[in-house]
């Protein structure tokens, strides 16, 4: 079953890369390197604190004050949502969708399975990010920008397992790709 065509991105690769590189330079020049995933733990911690504050205070990680308040990092994540929303609407590409072209080209309109896979994937994404002390932004992009040793094992495992998983999940999927 042929899915929809993968659309060309709005910016060519070098322009998009330079735009994002400049955002990283702003971030490092003004505050600290880009990072996203910590705030998921922060929001969970604030919720847990409502029901079990002793647990939070005795925990080796979330007892630290930075996990108990909404600051710069939280507002950065809110900004990502606002910025992406605005860019999508202004470019005319905001669209309610339930799946991706690569998924549809292999699994058809199996939206329920896409949602289930998406939820399970999200679980692994954040769990892995925190185990590795950072996500694709904080550990991979920012790690390499600073030439941190920590970025090397993380990058090898991220792309090794990412490519293996994409092979297993999307093998045989051939969506049309707009050049």
């Amino acid at each position: 079953m042929a899915g929809k065509t993968v659309r060309r991105s709005l910016l060519v690769w070098w322009a998009g890369g330079l735009f994002l590189g400049l955002v990283q330079i702003f971030a490092i020049g003004l505050k600290k390197p880009l990072g996203v995933s910590t705030q998921f733990v922060v929001l969970d911690t604030i919720a847990i604190k409502q029901v079990a504050s002793e647990y939070v205070e005795s925990h080796p990680v979330i007892s630290k004050s930075k996990y108990q308040k909404l600051g710069y990092g939280f507002w950065l994540d809110v900004g990502i949502v606002a910025g992406a929303f605005l860019a999508a609407v202004l470019s005319g590409r905001f669209k309610i969708r339930f799946s991706s072209c690569w998924w549809e080209a292999k699994y058809g309109n199996a939206i329920g399975r896409r949602m289930l896979a998406g939820f399970f994937g999200g679980f692994l994404i954040l769990l892995g990010s925190r185990i590795g002390h950072g996500c694709t932004s904080g550990q991979f992009m920012s790690g390499w920008a600073q030439l941190s040793l920590s970025a090397i094992p993380f990058t090898v495992a991220l792309f090794g397992f990412g490519m293996l998983t994409a092979y297993l999940v999307y093998r045989g999927s051939k969506p049309e790709i707009e050049k």
Binding site: V6, L10, L11, G16, G17, L18, L20, G21, Q24, I25, I28, V36, L43, P60, L76, V78, G79, I80, A82, G83, A84, L86, A87, A88, F94, I96, F98, S100, W102, M115, G118, F120, G122, G128, S129, G132, C135, T136, M141, S142, W144, A145, Q146, L149, S150, P153, F154, A157, L158, G160, F161, G162, M163, L164, T165, A166, Y167, V169, Y170, I177
Partner: protein, 176 residues
């Protein structure tokens, strides 16, 4: 307060950039992981080398705010692998998941919900599993410059020039 506004502003640029550059697009990410559509890979390469060169200039100008993370070799490998599996299934990561949900992707919204549960699992297992894991192969907050004794400028020049060269030659032969 000002720092929150700065966070929102930088996040706004980041979210818009992820969307415009096509990284907040699960099809572009999966296409790159399958090596069938290299747009995202090339974009990420430019993102990294631009940031790397920028850090070098900012350091020379004395206005750099670094945040080098401790190199826990085992945690890095395990975390990267677990994230990689989720990344390969969905085509999302934490930042692009948020951005894609904001652009109307309901499946990304479900992935974001999964992320909150993943964060909870992290909190719950940390004292039993992850704290011991962090202790194995922990080299501390070190950079490649600390490990090798070679200066940042040398690393930046070699990496930026070679990546730029690869991108240049790989993009030149295709006319369209």
């Amino acid at each position: 307060m000002e720092t929150n506004i700065l966070g929102f502003f930088i996040g706004g640029l980041f979210g818009a950039g992820l969307f415009l550059a096509g990284l907040a697009d699960p099809d572009k990410i999966v296409g790159t992981l399958r090596l069938k559509d290299l747009h995202a890979m090339k974009t990420i390469a430019v993102f990294i080398i631009a940031g790397m060169a920028g850090v070098w200039f900012l350091e020379a100008a004395g206005v750099v705010h670094l945040g080098v993370k401790p190199a826990h070799i085992v945690s890095g490998l395990v975390g990267g692998a677990v994230l990689g599996i989720g990344f390969g299934i969905t085509g999302y990561c934490p930042g692009t998941g948020l951005a894609c949900a904001a652009a109307g992707r309901i499946d990304a919204l479900v992935t974001v919900l999964g992320m909150f549960v993943g964060a909870l699992a992290y909190i719950l297992i940390y004292p039993y599993v992850l704290e011991p894991l962090d202790a194995i192969g922990n080299y501390g907050k070190v950079t490649l410059m600390d490990v090798t004794g070679i200066g940042r400028g040398v690393f930046v020049l070699v990496i930026v020039l070679s990546v730029t060269g690869i991108l240049w030659f790989s993009s030149r032969k295709k006319p369209a």
